[in-house]
């Protein structure tokens, strides 16, 4: 943002396009990250839109009810609809907040701050992945896989009336949350590499923490996608 404010002062908006300078006041690396995320957003959008199309094809009547599918919580057992997934959402949001803080400390050239907040970010990512692993394991244990449909008891646990959902639900769930989880995993790996670089002072020597900002964008994007995955699978 310093970049932006400085250049705005240096050049009036009208001639930033005249060449010899970056028209958005942004270095190419950050710009590339943004456009890569735009491109990646199209992949996720294609998945989510396919989800919508398939859901409409199957029909609303036999689409499973999220409150029944996702009502488990570790240790506590069943009967807590959406509680666990809300926890996952909060973890991811918080992790995203930590990342913003890391980026801000990076702008202040505060190495210690970056280490602290980036460390929290990575922990948040790992926590999210662990939660997702638990959720997947739980659902697979309950019989929902890529090739067998979701089942649950309509009137709550122990009521006996079994609802059998369409195959498509489980397939879409695992594909899309899996693809999201793959992004989170990549994010954690990249964050860790950047974290080590921060610790070893690579960016201190370079006199900028741009790399933290770039991986930060990626991390927020993962959060952004989760918001829509959350909407598709748990809220609608």
């Amino acid at each position: 943002m310093t970049t932006a404010t400085n250049t705005v002062q240096a050049n009036s908006e009208s001639n930033v396009w005249e060449g010899g300078q970056a028209p958005f006041g942004v270095k190419y690396g950050k710009l590339m990250m943004w456009y890569f995320l735009l491109s990646d957003a199209f992949t996720f959008a294609a998945f989510l839109i396919s989800y919508g199309a398939i859901r409409f094809t199957v029909g609303q009547d036999i689409w499973p009810e999220p409150n029944r599918v996702f009502d488990a919580f570790p240790v506590l057992g069943h009967g807590y609809p959406l509680l666990f997934v809300s926890l996952m959402t909060f973890i991811l949001i918080l992790s995203s907040v930590f990342m913003v803080r890391a980026v801000q400390e990076g702008h202040q050239m505060n190495k210690k701050g970056v280490i602290l907040w980036l460390g929290f970010t990575i922990l948040g990512g790992i926590a999210f992945l662990s939660c997702q692993a638990w959720e997947w394991a739980h659902l697979i244990h309950n019989g929902m896989t890529m090739t067998s449909p979701i089942t649950y008891e309509i009137g709550g646990h122990g009521s006996g009336a079994v609802f059998v959902g369409p195959l498509a639900f489980g397939q879409l769930f695992f594909t899309i949350t899996g693809f999201h989880g793959f992004h989170v995993t990549t994010g954690v790996v990249i964050n860790t590499i950047v974290f080590l670089n921060v610790v070893f002072g690579t960016y201190e020597k370079k006199k900028n923490y741009d790399m933290v900002e770039k991986v930060g964008l990626y991390w927020h994007f993962v959060d952004l996608v989760w918001v829509f995955v959350f909407l598709g699978f748990y809220l609608l």
């Binding site: 028209p23 942004v26 710009l31 919508g52 009810e65 409150n67 949001i93 913003v100 803080r101 952004l224």
Partner: protein, 111 residues
């Protein structure tokens, strides 16, 4: 690069504000989603809830993109180049949902 202390505090405050908004919206969403328990198969009510959920999600997406991803503070031209292409997805969404409905009817045809 280094911001003045005042600016730094301001940005920090903006982030925490966004965090609170995101948390509140998510909580409200989840709270309302619990209503599905009773009304899951009533299409009119569902439709209203779905519209609410989508709106709330867009609000969340706005805060993530604008504050966390810092797009609000970038030059407008850049924000436009990033946001305009999303328009293409809207037509993809509309077309495929209409197709989904029509496939449903074509499958239902034979029961």
């Amino acid at each position: 690069m280094i911001l003045s202390d005042q600016e730094y505090q301001m940005h920090k405050a903006a982030v925490w504000r966004a965090t609170i908004i995101l948390s509140v919206v998510t909580t409200v969403e989840v709270g309302i989603a619990l209503l599905y328990d009773t009304f899951f198969h009533e299409s009119g009510f569902r439709m209203a809830l779905a519209v609410f959920m989508i709106m709330a999600t867009l609000v969340k997406a706005y805060y993530i993109v604008a504050v966390f991803m810092h797009l609000k503070y970038e030059r407008k031209a850049m924000a436009i180049t990033i946001l305009m292409p999303i328009m293409f997805l809207i037509w993809l969404l509309i077309a495929l949902l209409m197709e989904g409905v029509s496939w449903h009817q074509m499958i239902e045809f034979y029961g």
